[in-house]
């Protein structure tokens, strides 16, 4: 291991970010770039794999799966083995489209060489000679800057034939998508890359065995990959020491909504929700009070004031009933209607449902219809039962991928934490945040609400993550 003693960065991912003018190849090298990849090429593939495994790096795209373990499913790993599959692929998942998430954009636009270097390390380790960056279509600036970085890497023999005099060759291409949330799901992404309609694939086989063009394929999130150069350069001990927490390394957290200082911050894994919300995002804007937040993008469960002391690591957030997801807080204030917020989220999921499986294709628009009715003051008390049932119909095990379960998470938790708001809409026949919504009075009493309470006592397991 290269255990340097000096200049160990505390914010490895963002230390070189420059959104105005990202570092050129020469400047990036001077700052300390392409050292991790140099070290990696001196190791055998197995050695790099072991380093990544031992580092404890977990996927930053939302699911939090250990990266080294994911790689270890790729069939290979005896050097010189003639029988190992010849073609393998690495794909960087840069299809960042999870509402309320904008962390990868910072890395793509601010320090594109870091991703190129990271992909060299990852592709070398799994023995892939071809790699793609699956970039969302709306990130035009990122596409340009990444292409510049790739061109410079080719010119300096960090890509192409026999990289830096080693026996390893690799090509790297950008694929710009055309805008569809489901492409962030790794098997849908693979279908998209193959030029097919981007619907998820049934698993198994898992992509690590049979992915892009039927070959072993690793799909990693951008932020996950960007950790690699620093782990190789600074060592496992350094990576684990960044965070006092059980999860190693740093993470880019963000906050949006009506907070004083929305933005992005790279912090050691595990600041509390309250720290990110108040110390970094500055708390709510003047005149607004905190109601709740989604801790990691649109497809995570609401958390409320009682949870603000929870550390933002994978396990702690899961323990209080949500998911770390992408680590992007979406903050709800007391002047925004929770029902309207859930309706907005559900509209997104209904629009972006790929339509392959019925619970999602039919369930998400159904939920939109019911939520619209409630928000417009035309809801009935039975609608709450319908929503609770839909949460069940769209849950894990009933759908092919995690999109519909992701849509369920904010809905079911809103029904729990903002139950009074739903009732108020129904009882008063209007939205009291936005009274201009059409009013139709239907008086109901609390004891008419039945199944909704039963539902709340059941806690389903945590789903894997879809999208960016």
């Amino acid at each position: 291991m290269a255990e340097h003693t000096s200049n160990k960065p505390l914010k490895p991912l963002t230390q070189w970010v420059n959104l105005q003018q990202p570092l050129s190849f020469d400047d990036y090298c001077q700052a300390g770039g392409y050292q991790g990849s140099k070290i990696a090429l001196q190791y055998s593939r197995n050695e790099v794999l072991e380093i990544v495994k031992k580092s404890g790096l977990k996927g930053r795209g939302g699911a939090g799966f250990p990266t080294g373990m994911k790689w270890s499913f790729v069939p290979m790993f005896t050097d010189g083995d003639e029988e190992a599959p010849d073609n393998k692929y690495l794909v960087a998942n840069a299809d960042e489209m999870e509402p309320g998430t904008f962390k990868d954009r910072l890395l793509l636009e601010g320090v594109p060489h870091q991703l190129v270097e990271a992909m060299i390390i990852a592709a070398y380790t799994i023995g892939a000679n071809k790699a793609y960056i699956f970039l969302r279509g709306e990130y035009y600036l990122a596409a340009k800057r990444l292409q510049d970085a790739i061109d410079q890497a080719y010119q300096n023999n960090w890509l192409g034939e026999k990289i830096q005099g080693s026996s390893y060759s690799m090509d790297l291409y950008i694929h710009c998508s055309a805008g569809r949330y489901i492409c962030g799901e790794e098997t849908a992404l693979i279908n998209a890359l193959e030029g097919k309609r981007a619907i998820p694939r049934a698993k198994p086989p898992f992509p690590q065995i049979s992915g892009l063009f039927g070959k072993p394929t690793i799909v990693n999130n951008v932020e996950t990959l960007c950790n690699l150069p620093h782990i190789l350069k600074n060592g496992i001990a350094w990576f684990q020491a960044i965070s006092p927490n059980s999860d190693a390394g740093s993470k880019i957290y963000s906050a949006c909504g009506r907070v004083k200082n929305p933005g992005l911050w790279e912090l050691p894994m595990g600041p509390t929700l309250g720290e990110v919300l108040y110390d970094y995002a500055g708390g709510l804007q003047d005149g607004l009070k905190f109601r709740g937040l989604l801790p990691g993008g649109a497809s995570t469960d609401f958390l409320v004031a009682e949870h603000l002391d929870t550390p933002m690591d994978f396990d702690s957030i899961a323990k209080v009933g949500s998911r770390l997801g992408t680590g992007g807080l979406i903050v709800l204030d007391d002047k925004n209607c929770p029902v309207a917020m859930v309706l907005n989220l559900m509209r997104f999921f209904a629009q972006e449902s790929c339509g392959w499986c019925t619970p999602c294709r039919d369930g998400t628009p159904w939920a939109v219809e019911v939520l619209t009715r409630i928000e417009q003051g035309q809801g009935k008390i039975q609608d709450l039962d319908t929503l609770a049932k839909l949460c069940d119909f769209m849950w894990i095990g009933k759908t092919h991928c995690a999109l519909a379960p992701g849509a369920v998470e904010p809905l079911r938790s809103a029904l729990k934490y903002f139950h009074d708001d739903f009732l108020q809409h129904i009882e008063h026949g209007c939205c009291h945040y936005n009274p201009s919504m059409s009013a139709k009075r239907t008086k109901v009493s609390q004891d008419q609400v039945t199944n909704i309470h039963k539902y709340q006592s059941v806690k389903p397991p945590q789903p894997p993550k879809v999208g960016q």
């Binding site: 489209m97 998430t101 709306e138 963000s254």
Partner: protein
Amino acid sequence: METIKTTIIDYQHYLTATEIAAIEHEASIMETREAAGIEALKVVQAHRGWISDESLFAISDLLSVPIAQLEGVATFYNLIYRQPVGQYVIHLCNSIACHLTGADSVLVAIKQYLNIDYGQTTTDGKFTLLSNACLGGCDKAPAMMIGIEHFQHLSPESAVDILQQIAAKGEVNG
């Protein structure tokens, strides 16, 4: 009984040399020709503004992909237009961060100024208004995208200002 009309478009007569070269480049970096389908649609759309049936048939011919499969791809994506659009397509983000920070009032202002609804094009053919899923500008919400430019921190007034400037200058510049 009505016969089903089929159209065969020879790509060489329909697509320009520039378009063909760009599509062939994309096909060359993928393992299969069909994998270049999305890129091909984007190439042709960049030159012609939208994907007409004829364009679809020509790409199908060039890449040897069944028309139905290519249509399935073309209609799947938010950024491929299967209908004519205006010179500038406004993609107004309507996802959660923009919703919480007042995107609705921006939408009302744009609709009133242009006198169109979602999915419509102004009579002068300048602007088409579409919604867009999260543009990744959540810390600078509300946001919209016109052409390849992103505009952030929108208010009803600033959004209309931007449209006025674009209409006057005839070009998008951030």
